[in-house]
């Protein structure tokens, strides 16, 4: 800093040479990369929920398609001869999301831009999110009762649309009723019957509830919506198959914003559908938060204890110094190594023994002898222990010695000095350490792959059943959700929006936690700077 100050006056007179500029450029480049990455994730993650307009495109061979333009790229000469590719400098092709997997067998279509004859956005185009086969894009023909013979005359679009909306909201109510029944009545009854198969009252009530559910399903299926793709193929769907529908070309911007925020909320609050490629991430959020909470409960006392021992109790000799360096270095040991340790010691070692002692009637299917919530939290606690120890120690070192000496001079014992003077002053440092630990744990995936994360666990590891918190269950995790959905799905393109949204959520969590830690540390240093000066 003083270097800058001293030369400030002569700076304009002389150049610094090319290397100085390359150094400056590398700062700019890293900022550019970081900004680019964050923008990409934010735009693609949030854009997923925006009800984008749908275009009706007519090609030069007379075929039509309806879809959402996704992106446009320069045309790549695919297996083309050299004479052809030489001219393709300006040609571009556009990717459309056309939906209708059940009709076309695919949902994406590349179209060369110069083949497009006409493209417009008719307001009657409908996008429909369905329970199966993904989205439908096309026109609405009619809504009618299931038994009715198909009307030949096409109804007026707006009338059919209004009818569809009304019936869909009715179906929505029925669906809510059904879900309440399943969660509130059926599942507890099934569990009661599992414990006591002779409970006839429960059995009778179960049959009644089944009856009611069947009735609800029936009335949900009472109406049929008839749809037509833009090239004229018809399709009839019972309304229980339809989740949501909208006419994006007919929506005003405030309506779209409303739909967007509802989409974000659904993403946060619902479970995944269609092999994780659609729906929400609620179980993953819950699993991540629960695992991280358990981990911080485990890591905080032990980390603080070790830091206090190393800094306040242990003899400050060469050995302590070596131990300190070793602990610091463990923060640099790859996380996968912790995962191996967790698998070998916690899962196979301790978990296997627990199974033999307490759950031997369940063997050979393991209870604790397989990955689960408890082992994942323990492994991550071990992984983040160095972070907490280092941060707490840093706080303890910064407390001026005269504070300790003052307390001792007034007759306090060491314990009193620690609990009344030193530890309260070190609380922000501990908090910083724990927050950093949580941020690291929230983003860590590799060790979890070994000790208990699951691809799909719609049952969250906490419920109304004794013992309420199921430490042996597998759980879902945001980071693993990103990895698994992105790499193990059938249609990666279709899963990309969900992956981007999940990645954005994960990045947001980690960034907010880190910002809190940075702010705390800053505040803490400023306060203690003032203390040492006195």
């Amino acid at each position: 800093m003083s270097l800058v100050g001293v030369t400030g006056r002569v700076r304009l007179a002389r150049g610094e040479g090319p290397w100085a500029w390359l150094a400056a450029g590398s700062v700019a480049l890293s900022l550019l990369l970081l900004g680019g990455l964050l923008t990409l994730i934010a735009v693609r993650g949030l854009g997923h929920f925006w009800p984008a307009s749908v275009s009706l495109v007519e090609l030069d061979d007379g075929s039509v398609l309806a879809g959402r333009a996704v992106r446009e790229l320069p045309l790549v000469p695919r297996s083309a001869g050299p004479d052809e590719s030489g001219m393709s400098g300006g040609a571009r092709e556009r990717l459309y999301f056309t939906g209708n997997r059940d009709l076309d067998g695919h949902v994406w279509q590349w179209v060369a831009v110069d083949r497009i004859v006409e493209s417009d956005r008719p307001r009657e185009l409908v996008v429909m999110e369905r329970l199966r086969h993904g989205d439908f894009i096309g026109r609405l023909v009619a809504v009618r009762a299931a038994g009715q013979i198909e009307a030949q005359s096409t109804e007026d679009g707006d009338v059919a649309w209004a009818a569809l909306q009304a019936r869909l909201s009715a179906v929505e109510v029925l669906r809510g009723e059904r879900d309440d029944l399943v969660h509130g009545v059926i599942q507890p009854l099934v569990r009661r019957l599992e414990n006591d198969p002779d409970d006839t009252a429960a059995r009778r009530r179960l049959v009644e509830a089944d009856e009611r559910i069947r009735g609800l399903q029936e009335s949900m299926r009472a109406d049929v919506v008839v749809l037509e793709s833009v090239d004229g193929r018809r399709l009839a769907l019972t309304l229980d198959e339809v989740l949501r529908t909208w006419r994006p070309n007919d929506m005003s911007v405030p309506e779209k914003v409303g739909a967007w925020s509802r989409g974000v909320w659904r993403f946060l609050s619902e479970g995944p559908r269609a092999a994780n490629t659609a729906g929400g991430v609620w179980p993953a959020i819950f699993g991540t938060v629960l695992m991280v909470m358990l981990m911080s409960i485990l890591v905080t006392p032990f980390g603080v204890l070790a830091a206090v021992y190393l800094n306040e109790v242990a003899h400050q000799g060469r050995l302590t110094n070596w131990v300190r360096i070793a602990v610091r270095n463990l923060a640099g040991v790859p996380s996968i190594v912790y995962g191996v340790f967790g698998l070998g010691v916690f899962v196979y070692g301790i978990g296997g023994s627990l199974d033999e002692w307490f759950f031997s009637d369940e063997l050979p299917s393991p209870t604790f002898g397989t990955g689960g919530l408890l082992w994942a939290s323990l492994t991550l606690a071990l992984l983040t222990l160095p972070v907490v120890i280092v941060a707490t120690e840093e706080g303890l070192v910064r407390i001026p010695d005269h504070q300790r000496e003052g307390a001792l001079a007034l007759g306090a014992t060491r314990l009193e000095m620690l609990t009344r003077v030193v530890l309260p002053m070190a609380v922000p440092a501990m908090l910083t350490g724990v927050i950093l630990a949580v941020a690291r744990a929230a983003g860590e995936v590799a060790p979890l792959m070994l000790v208990g994360v699951a691809k799909l666990a719609p049952q969250v590891p906490m419920d109304g059943e004794f013992p309420f918190l199921h430490l042996d269950r597998k759980f879902m995790h945001l980071g693993y959700h990103v990895y698994d959905t992105a790499f193990h799905g059938d249609d990666i393109q279709a899963a990309m929006p969900v992956v981007f949204a999940t990645a954005l959520l994960l990045v947001l969590v980690v960034v907010v936690l880190n910002l809190t830690a940075i702010f705390l540390r800053h505040y803490f240093r400023a306060r203690h700077g003032a203390l040492t000066r006195h």
């Binding site: 206090v308 242990a314 190594v337 983003g443 980071g479």
Partner: protein, 377 residues
């Protein structure tokens, strides 16, 4: 406590002292226990593997056959990560230690700290599923970008000297880290626009085909360069933070002396500050290497995971960490493949632990030296 401690007649009471002793003992026991538990990781890995090495259960040949490709992949990925990370990290560290305005620096450091905290799985996903296909499609554009960025920075430096002094005041070198960003972004976009024409002109519009036929180079979509770029991005902030600490920790009297004799800031840095801080910079690079060797998710997602042994940076690889993550959940405990994977974990552990210890020792020596140098002046 109703009375202040000093006024309490019981402040020498045996009960308080007993409590104190007890608590101190507990803290000591707990602390030692925690430290031992943390250190147990190395012990566990060694206990699992070492006996089978000596008893001959794991043959020499078996080990070399299954671990050599993984070790090769690990080193290859780490090498390319460092190729990208070290110039950027050291450049950024030099700029922020010597040239950057203190106000900007107090903002940049936490920003890069945030960059360090980005989860590997997110970086790996973007690298493997966005960057890799994009580069495959815009191969020429990607190479042009690699070339244009340094040239563009140099051009900015040259152009800056031609500006009039009012403008130069508005765009000082101390803030170049910020105002170069839009320039580089514009340059990058321009380069991407130009790349197809360049490709058509030089390589007949198909660089990939040209590389294949003329040079005989295979191009894998997920290759070492992609991994290197992504992992370089992940490793760069930690190298930067440590190198910046080492550079700005050099006692200012040294640099001031050189500048008083008429050296420019770059000369001062190159001849005085950098030699003084060299061990610290070396330690920073070592820690970066440790990070790159152990990073799992980025390699797993961006490398294709084929256990190849090739020198070409345009082909994929499989690293030890990725191999463990994929295979260990399926390996039967006690089997040979299980032991081999634990051996891989032990190697990773030993490597990173040794590298970090070396770096830490170098750093603490350096701190002592700075203190001495600072006292002299």
């Amino acid at each position: 406590m109703t009375k202040p401690l000093s006024a309490s007649p019981s402040h020498r009471s045996p009960r308080r002292h007993l409590l104190d002793r007890l608590a101190t003992g507990l803290i000591a026991a707990g602390g030692i226990g925690v430290v031992l538990a943390v250190l147990a990781i190395g012990a566990f890995l060694a206990i699992e593997v070492v006996p089978s090495l000596f008893s001959g259960a794991l043959g020499q040949e078996q080990i070399s056959r299954s671990l050599t490709p993984l070790a090769w992949g690990t080193l290859k990925a780490a090498f390319w990560a460092l190729v990208f990370a070290i110039p950027m990290a050291l450049g950024a560290a030099i700029h922020s230690a010597v040239y950057m305005s203190p106000r900007l620096r107090s903002r940049i450091k936490p920003t890069l700290e945030l960059m360090e905290a980005l989860p590997g799985v997110v970086i790996g996903f973007v690298a493997g599923l966005v960057l890799a296909p994009w580069v495959e499609r815009h191969l020429a554009g990607a190479f042009v970008l690699l070339l244009v960025m340094p040239l563009g920075i140099l051009a900015a430096g040259g152009g800056w000297r031609l500006l009039n002094s009012a403008l130069r005041h508005r765009l000082p070198l101390a803030w170049a880290g910020l105002w170069l960003v839009p320039w580089l972004a514009a340059l990058g976009l321009a380069a991407l626009e130009l790349a197809p024409w360049l490709e058509a002109w030089l390589f007949g519009g198909d660089l990939r085909g040209w590389m294949d036929t003329e040079l005989g180079i295979d191009y894998a979509s997920r290759n070492a360069l992609i991994v290197g770029l992504a992992m370089g991005f992940a490793v760069m902030p930690s190298v930067y933070a440590l190198a910046e600490d080492a550079l700005s920790g050099v006692p200012s009297s040294l640099g001031e002396g050189a500048q008083a004799m008429g050296a420019t800031r770059w000369q001062t840095l190159w001849k005085v500050v950098l030699p003084a801080a060299a061990p610290g910079v070396f330690a920073a690079v070592m820690i970066g290497a440790g990070r790159a060797v152990g990073e799992t998710m980025i390699v797993l997602m961006a490398s294709g995971n084929a256990a190849l042994m090739s020198l070409s940076p345009l082909e994929g690889m499989r690293s030890m960490a990725a191999g463990i993550a994929i295979e260990l959940p399926e390996a039967v405990p006690g089997s040979d493949s299980y032991r081999l994977l634990i051996l891989a974990a032990l190697l990773l552990f030993l490597f990173t632990f040794l590298v970090n210890t070396l770096a830490e020792v170098v750093r603490s020596r350096l701190r002592r030296r700075y203190r001495r140098l600072g006292d002299l002046s």
